[in-house]
């Protein structure tokens, strides 16, 4: 079967008594591109830092590349095979682009010089420029280069396209798609840009308040979930909320909007029994899926 390049179970972490992750379950199959979505403070960066060994978990188990990560040595072994892009794209202010590349290159024997040249050229990054003089966008590009040129099997990225204009974002997505297609690189990244997640990801994981609320193949989620709009002559009946398969219910006046998944046909049948004046079934976008699961209405 698909071997999991990341497998976390029961992952918990608190800061000063405040829980950031509560028994998080996360699986990322090798070769997939998985989007990690969640509101600010939901636990995305904490999860990435735990995977990298920057934080120690309170509870739970982490396996990466099939090996348990429970010591510094195992964490270092995993870091040899992955690339990381941090949220704030910090690099060394006392180095130039060239020095930064040479520094990083020394740690990875599988470094791809051809990709280094290609990305330097694409991003138009001048080798001799000092890091503090770079704009946020250029720092992002440099960090992406450093992560993607090392021949890593897995890329862990925290908002990889922040600060990039739409044209450059498209270029980056193309590079990622190509890395996945040609080298089978697995990509796990957090993002606030739903559009780019919909474009490039085959899997999506939504985290809310430290727990995973959605985790699966994006296309399958689109098939499994439906929005059912019902209009009634009076108040929508209370039984609606108890129907099997209703994930989320919102009422406004005489209209009820259901987010449903599973056996949608059966659900529609039972909804019809409640005698609505109109029934409409619509497909669900990722945005709706996201908002309905994190806005806690």
């Amino acid at each position: 079967m698909n071997d999991m390049i990341i497998a976390a179970d029961g992952l918990s972490k608190s800061y000063d008594g405040k829980p950031a992750l509560r028994s998080l379950h996360l699986e990322v199959p090798r070769g997939s591109i998985c989007g990690f979505l969640g509101r600010n403070g939901a636990g995305k960066t904490t999860t990435l830092k735990l995977l990298l060994g920057m934080l120690r978990r309170d509870a739970g188990a982490i396996r990466m590349f099939g090996e348990p990560i429970d010591s510094e040595a195992s964490s270092i072994a995993a870091r040899r095979r992955l690339g990381f892009v941090s949220e704030d794209k910090e690099l060394y202010p006392f180095m130039t682009i060239d020095q930064t590349i040479r520094f990083t290159r020394a740690f990875f024997p599988g470094w791809r010089r051809d990709l280094e040249e290609k990305y330097l050229d694409l991003f138009q990054l001048p080798r001799k420029k000092a890091v503090p003089k770079l704009s946020k966008g250029m720092r992002t590009q440099l960090m992406l280069l450093l992560a993607m040129a090392r021949g890593a099997e897995l890329l862990l990225m925290d908002e990889p396209t922040s600060g990039l204009d739409p044209a450059m974002t498209e270029d980056v997505l193309q590079i990622l798609a190509d890395l996945a297609a040609s080298d089978g690189t697995t990509i796990f990244f957090s993002s606030h840009q739903l559009a780019e997640v919909e474009q490039i990801c085959d899997r999506v994981c939504i985290i809310d308040q430290g727990q995973s609320v959605i985790d699966g193949v994006l296309d399958d989620l689109k098939s499994d979930y439906r929005r059912i709009l019902l209009v009634f002559d009076g108040e929508p009946p209370r039984e609606l909320a108890e129907l099997d398969g209703v994930d989320h219910l919102r009422q406004r006046g005489r209209t009820a909007s259901l987010l449903a998944h599973g056996d949608v046909d059966a659900l529609v049948d039972r909804a019809r029994e409640l005698k609505p004046s109109s029934v409409e079934v619509r497909p669900v976008t990722l945005k709706e899926l996201f908002l309905d699961h994190v806005r806690g209405e």
Partner: protein, 233 residues
């Protein structure tokens, strides 16, 4: 490449200290002559240098221990508190190795500065000294400074870059005041061990102090490693 990075991080601090020290040495030459005889002037210079060199050792040790062990520069208006440390920690390298290389380079540079200053100080001592006395002085100056350096490294691991320097200075000022009250501290004090006033040139070598300094240096380094190992970023 870690040594190269450490050097890039520290080189300006090293240059700054070297420059400051040179300035301190050159300054007396620019002071207006007060009509004092050359011999007296030289003698005063000698004593001043003795006092100053210990201070210079300490200053160098604290300052050079600072950069790059823990926080590293944080860009303004970012939410990240740990700066480029996250980039460093994402590399496949152990925290212990990070500490050893960074502290190691700082120690080498500090030792170098101590040797330079000690050499210059010796040149201005009245009278002459045996080779053995010279070696003893330089050795204890370096070892005692390493104790100060090591504690500064520990402070760098625990505190922010900004506070590390001030914290270091505060600790040693406090120690300086305490050592005059407590005989135990006085006999083991690195501050006195590195000074020519407390232990004159050619006099008996303060072995206890030197050994204590060595022990302190080792202990503080281990403590630093422990702190870094457990630290959360």
């Amino acid at each position: 490449m870690l040594w190269y990075k450490a050097w890039l991080e520290t080189r300006w601090r090293f240059v700054f200290i070297l420059g400051s020290i040179l300035l301190v040495w050159v300054a007396p030459l620019w002071l207006p002559s007060t009509g004092v005889s050359a011999a007296v002037a030289a003698s005063r210079m000698g004593r001043a240098l003795q006092l100053e060199s210990a201070l210079l050792y300490i200053f160098a040790a604290i300052y050079l221990a600072g950069a790059g062990i823990n926080t590293q520069t944080v860009y303004a208006a970012t939410t990240g508190f740990h700066g480029s440390m996250l980039f460093t920690l994402s590399m496949p390298v152990s925290r212990r190795r990070l500490l050893l290389v960074r502290a190691g380079l700082g120690a080498i540079l500090t030792g170098l500065l101590v040797a330079i200053v000690a050499g210059y100080t010796l040149l201005h001592q009245p009278g002459s000294a045996s080779a053995r006395a010279i070696v003893e002085y330089i050795a204890r100056a370096i070892i005692c400074t390493m104790a100060v350096y090591s504690l500064s490294v520990l402070m760098a691991c625990v505190l922010d870059e900004m506070w590390q320097f001030m914290g270091g200075c505060c600790v040693w000022v406090a120690f300086f005041m305490l050592q005059s009250r407590f005989a135990v501290l006085s006999s083991l004090s690195p501050l006195r061990g590195m000074s020519l006033i407390c232990y004159p040139l050619g006099g008996p070598m303060p072995w206890m102090t030197v050994l204590a300094s060595l022990a302190f240096a080792g202990a503080f380094l281990c403590a630093s490693a422990l702190v870094l190992q457990r630290k959360e970023y």
